[in-house]
Amino acid sequence: MASSANSNPVPKLYKSVIEDVINEVRELFLDEGVDEQVLLELKTLWENKLLQSKAVEGFHTEEQAALQAAAQQQQQQQQQVQVQQVQQVQHVTQQAQAQQVILPPQQQQAPQQQVIVQDPKILQHMNATGMSAAATAATLALPTGVTPYQQLITSQGQILQVVRAANGAQYIIQQPQQQILLQQQMQPGGVQAPVIQQVLAPLQGGIPQQAGVIIQPQQIVLASGNKVQGSTQVMQAMAQQQQQQPAQAAAAQVQQVQQLQQAQGAAAPQAQQQAQAQQPPMMLQVDGAGDTSSEEDEDEEEEYDEDEEEEKDKDGGEDGQVEEEPLNSGDDVSDEEDQELFDTENVVVCQYDKIHRSKNKWKFHLKDGIMNLNGKDYVFSKAIGDAEW
């Protein structure tokens, strides 16, 4: 396989390894009596962690490729969707559901078999849970592979539906009861941060780490044509954003969501940023030496300072290094522990063919390696290097 100058072999390699491993362990899982669903969950978790690490560029799973294809087709048939949704709205719930059966085959053509198989289940589930027409329309308009998972009622009385997509990400469909709130929040892009706050603040412990928010405005129910257009456009725009521009707004939103959940109680992003900003200085404080750098929150650091000062006084004063340096730090040979606390340790794991040394000139002949440099992954079949010691 000749590789062009711009192709990156890493995503394909990783994907093929994932597929191989999953297929090979399927038997093991069955022997242990573990459900296939768990195997799929393993694959999903694995792929999502790879995506989150951003170590691989252009890494899209098959399901996400299908999601993108579905989103594009939804865009192409946007007008049909709007017309059909308007028709749904004007009918009673039962009749609306009957029309929804017609929807999927027209909307999604590429992953046809998957959609048709899943839609009856979705509809059955919707019947069981008694979702409104707007919610069912929204759920059907979601990317393929999404099934309603849970219904949660927040303290504010809003009905949230936690929907789980095939790729493991969970979406929350919000059905707020106040239309005015949503009108303010209908602008795509910069809006979803406050929405996420409102949605997730009362739901801290209940949602796993990966969650996106899809706003389902109740304007659809009002049966006005203009508003329906706006809402579907926003939904599709948001769906496209979250799918086609993962590195941009959606990733920022997901990161905000994750930060919200990790902060456990901090509602405002500012508090979270402060919480995160507070953490690095505390992590760097290895020796407890008195540092004059940041004086924002110094509770624990002040304790270190006091201890250090006491020790210094007992020793009768040091070399004249009054300020930050730990005792006799000039004599230390290796001071690299602090550096290792940083984000990326650039690592190469490989096998060696030959290691050669001549005086202080070293030559490395390596093979079959995976490198993580500056946060990015690379692979090689052969590597030759020179270094001087």
Partner: protein, 124 residues
Amino acid sequence: MAYQLYRNTTLGNSLQESLDELIQTQQITPQLALQVLLQFDKAINTALANRVRNRVNFRGSLNTYRFCDNVWTFVLNDVEFREVTDLVKVDKVKIVACDGKSESTQNKSDKWSVTQTPQISVCL
């Protein structure tokens, strides 16, 4: 048995984390997770040997070197990694390399494998 060397990579770590999550929710047993990792070792070793065909050159200064249990560990500074397409520079890099000539039956799990094997290993 393939080298367990590649478990400490992005791919390997994400797999281990995912398996840990499943263990915590008791959806799989630790034994099963271990089997998955062993399968991963085989798959990644095979994939690297067969599906990758590119070359990299690098140059830098050697800070430390260690050879223990047939595993070389280097720390280099101010290194440039050069491929045909692009160039990557790093201040510090750690290279862990297992013996590529003979895949011995010993498992090189982590970097610091201090295992004392009772029998004498024969290098062919």
